[in-house]
Amino acid sequence: MESVTTDKRILILMLQYSVVVKGIEKKLQDMGCNVTTVADELENRIERYSPETDLLLFYLPGDLYDDASKKAKFLKLCTLVTIKKKKMILIGEAKYHDELLKEHTELREYAWMNRPVDMKALENRVESALTPTTEAAKGKRILIVDDDPSYAKMIREWIKDTYRVDIVTGGMQAISFLLKVPESEKVDLILLDYEMPVVDGPQVLQMLRQEEGTKDIPVIFLTGIGSKEAVMRVMSLKPEGYLLKSATRMDILDFLRDKLQ
């Protein structure tokens, strides 16, 4: 049966080999996750795997706090994970937890679990981390305006676990839809296909900017790589930016998270 953890990709980091991590790996696999465990070339592995990773677990050695080189390496890797904007659970000793977080407040961004690991607690923590972000994000509503139902459906498939998503296939339909939406359920962002028949993207944007009820809704153009320059020409209409139609699921989710924060 599908759950929030099914097919999710987990990257486990270790600074030194640990047999307990093997148990954690098995537990996560039983939960339906795809698990990769790495103990060397950690920077390269984070670079390589992070685009498709949903969650990182960093299993910290008992002597982390007392070993300056391990601590430095750990902090450097955390900085890299932050840059990649990935969720991470740190698993370490309670004895150095408080001091570590006091000295390095940036680590508060991550969830913490004490060793020895309670597998049931780990299961709950991982499920929680993989559940569609926050209530606030789930409450955001996105309208996709694209004349190609298949492409629109694909994008919706990618983002519907995180946002409420509606689809219309033309500009006039978009205006009609937006004017009917009650204020309490307003659309927070519009993904607008640049090239559409009859009424194209820029024309739709112009119409949106002329209506009181729609003029302030952020609009992102969906465009092919050959049309980037064309998009720049209509920046005077103040779209919030553009997304290439070749963008991956992670690209799109990261982009939307930034725009809707």
Binding site: D7, E157, I167, T248
Partner: protein
Amino acid sequence: MTEKERERFSCLEGSEIDVEVGLRNSGSSGSYLSLLKIFFESIEENEAQLNRLYNEQDIRNYTIKVHALKSSARIIGATDLGERAQGLENAGKAGDTDYIAAEHEAFLSAYSSMQGPLSALFRQKEEGEDRPEADESLMKSVYDEVLAAAEDMDCERLDSFFAEMADYKIPDGEAVLYEQLKVATGRYEYRTIRRLLKEKQTS
């Protein structure tokens, strides 16, 4: 690709679809599978549309259609098909009807060839399997709810109704209308749905 993924998508080996690319774009095999289903379910209709537009020499709309297909193809890893679509799109924009004439059949053949491998991924409920037939009151409820959802342009509700109704056999007398509503839902043609159901109400 993990061993599990390799096994899951083994039926696509040797096809026009590069599973590694598709998985990378979607981020997970579950998500990728959903996209492949969307792509698969649109092949027949898109093929028919492209043939019609080509035969009518409606190059403007033919170009728009191949442009749209290009993006979907690339997302699922059908890179070669995406490139062919790009070529046809460029030709359409340049008015190069000779290129389109030379490439149209080969393009459709490559597109159509994906149906075989993809159909192996998706098990369809066969006619004659043990599904209860939807009775008159259920069909009426469905039509009322579909009309309301179409008036709200609520694609999520519409999708969920048809997903639920997949467990039922549609009565013969309703099959044509039901299929029309399902096709219109897949295309987000809310106006068509409303028209079909209002015609039914007045008939």
